[in-house]
């Protein structure tokens, strides 16, 4: 942290490089979309790639890496915990699918 209270960030060259990497990942995502994968496989790939992108964005663009580690340790586990818990509603979606009244 410098005297403006802002955190260190990467240089512009590195930022452009990261931007390029992110665009490449988007390219991979689009490529995968048209590979006729099953929905589940595609979803798994896309989610992994999206979380990877998000990690890059949070770490460097939002420069969480250069803040106090406490901040990352407070925010990220809290969010992951909430995301994980929300997942508990999905078994019921399957139940809705399986017990759906077809003609009702």
């Amino acid at each position: 942290m410098d005297n403006t209270g802002t955190s260190r960030v990467l240089g512009m060259k590195a930022n452009l490089l990261l931007c390029f990497v992110l665009l490449c990942i988007v390219g991979i995502e689009v490529f995968l979309t048209y590979r006729h994968l099953s929905t589940e496989t595609l979803l798994a790939f896309l989610l992994v790639l999206a979380f990877f992108e998000a990690a890059i964005a949070v770490t460097y663009f939002m420069h969480l890496k250069y803040e106090s580690p406490n901040l990352a340790w407070s925010l990220i586990p809290a969010l992951i915990f909430v995301l994980f818990m929300m997942g508990n509603m999905l078994p019921d979606a399957m139940r809705v699918l399986n017990l759906r009244v077809i003609h009702w």
Partner: protein, 589 residues
Amino acid sequence: MSSPEPAVHHHGPPQSFIRKYIFSLDHKVIGKQYYGLALIAVLAGLILSWLMRIHLGWQAAAIPLLGKLSPTGAPGNVMTPDYYLSLMTMHATLMIFFVLTTAPFAAFGNYLLPIQVGAEDMAFPRFNMMSFWVTFVAFVVLILSFFVGDGPPLAGWTSYAPLSSVGGVAGPGQGTGQTLWAVSIAIFCIGQLLGSLNFITTTLDLRTKGMSLARMPLSTWGWFVTSVIALLAFAALLPACVLLILDRTAGTSFFSSAGLVVNDQVLPHSGGSPLLWQHLFWFFGHPEVYIAILPGFGIISTVLPAFARKRILSSRAVIGCMVSIGFLSYMVWGHHMFVSGMNPFSAVLFSLPTLIITIPATIMVLLWLGTLYGARMRYTASALFSVGFISVFITGGLSGFFLAQPSLDTYLHATYFVVAHFHFVMALAAMFGIFAGTYFWFPKMFGRMMNETLGKWHFWLTFIGVYCVFMPMHYLGLAGNVRRYAAFTDNYLAPLIPLHRFISISAFFVGAAQLIFFFNLFWSRFWGAKATDNPWEATTLEWSTTSPPPFDNFGGRHLVVYHGPEEYGVDSDTLEYVMQTAPEQIKTT
């Protein structure tokens, strides 16, 4: 660092009336505004509960003036079944959102949290002001639903879809009233998000020198943990309410399934599921229960030692319990849905963490009991409400053992047993916390003492009264008495009506006791005895300043903290208690 953060002196003392009392940036004024809002809401909620209890005891009773309020809801002053449900819905919504969330959390938190950590104001005073006024708008929108064409909503505070989502076709109260409900709650979410963001930042950033996290009073810890829960919980309710509004007004069907038939007409909805609303709602709804009660834990853990004249048994353990309860509150929402058609395997998964919550709760109760052991308890009104809190919390917590088990929930779900449980553990415990806090901090907030005699009468009538009201509800629940019924037409419920009448009569007494409190509050505000700076000989920072505190809380002084928040009974010969700001030379642990 050249202080890019204008943490101190955001604003000078305001001069104009509007800036001073209406759109004030001062956290103390905002805290009082929240308290005032809660008072109005609790009065409305109390009156609604009276009306409900009259109806439950004596179905045919004419209630004077009720017909004036709603000619359709109470023709000839006799309540219709749908109006009963509307009153019940409004009672719950007002109490849970506008009393149990605003009073212990937003009101006391706003007034006291900055003072207790030694700050001059909140981190974001402007957000703080917006937080109150947004909440106020939410309140007005909710109250408006009393006056719309087809009456206030009647789907309960949980507003289960599709009753709440298909619109006016579902019956009276499901038109504009229900839409206003959803809009009100969505607005309320925004207000509380602003508030909790503020609380967290203030607690972490604006602590005065020496106020380490371990030295923060337990009440501050309570508000802090609550605001973390609120930050995440209200964020989940907001989109749920938006989707509900869209379902009602834009014709989407997130929460309505295909092929609904009302009045022989097939509704146009298709595709959604009511279970989605239940999941989104309870993902917020269960943490909300702890938003209501956690500030109570904090307040009691601060008030009790002050009157017991000794430290709480293990303040670290209390903090740990509050944090773990906050954590667990996100893992248990499914226990509201055991018989809702949820996957039965999920029920087992939700049941275990629910039961685990009883461990930190038990630890806290034991620590409070251990604090009372060997104390020299000064039984003021505030102290009485603190021990009363422990009692009602025990009673309410124990009935949770039954409801946390899916196998018993199949019998007890949606009976009065549940009503008894959540009133004891959430409503009464939180209310007792609010009362303890009010009697304790009133001198600080208004510079005048509350009348102790009236306070004690208030306590005795309330304490005995609530047991008379809510204890029998356990028996009703065990007898299979279903909740949310406007009348008991079923044969097996008819024998229970005398017990309902007993409850109703007790409820009138409890309500009357609250009038004593209201009177005491207003009378003491203007004619109470002048309060000294530290009437209870308490140690936290708010007692280091004048009563009421000046605009910047400490009159331009910067406090330095040297001690923990509850150094009571340090050395009973020379020094009975040590202020947090007392200089270093007094050795404490």
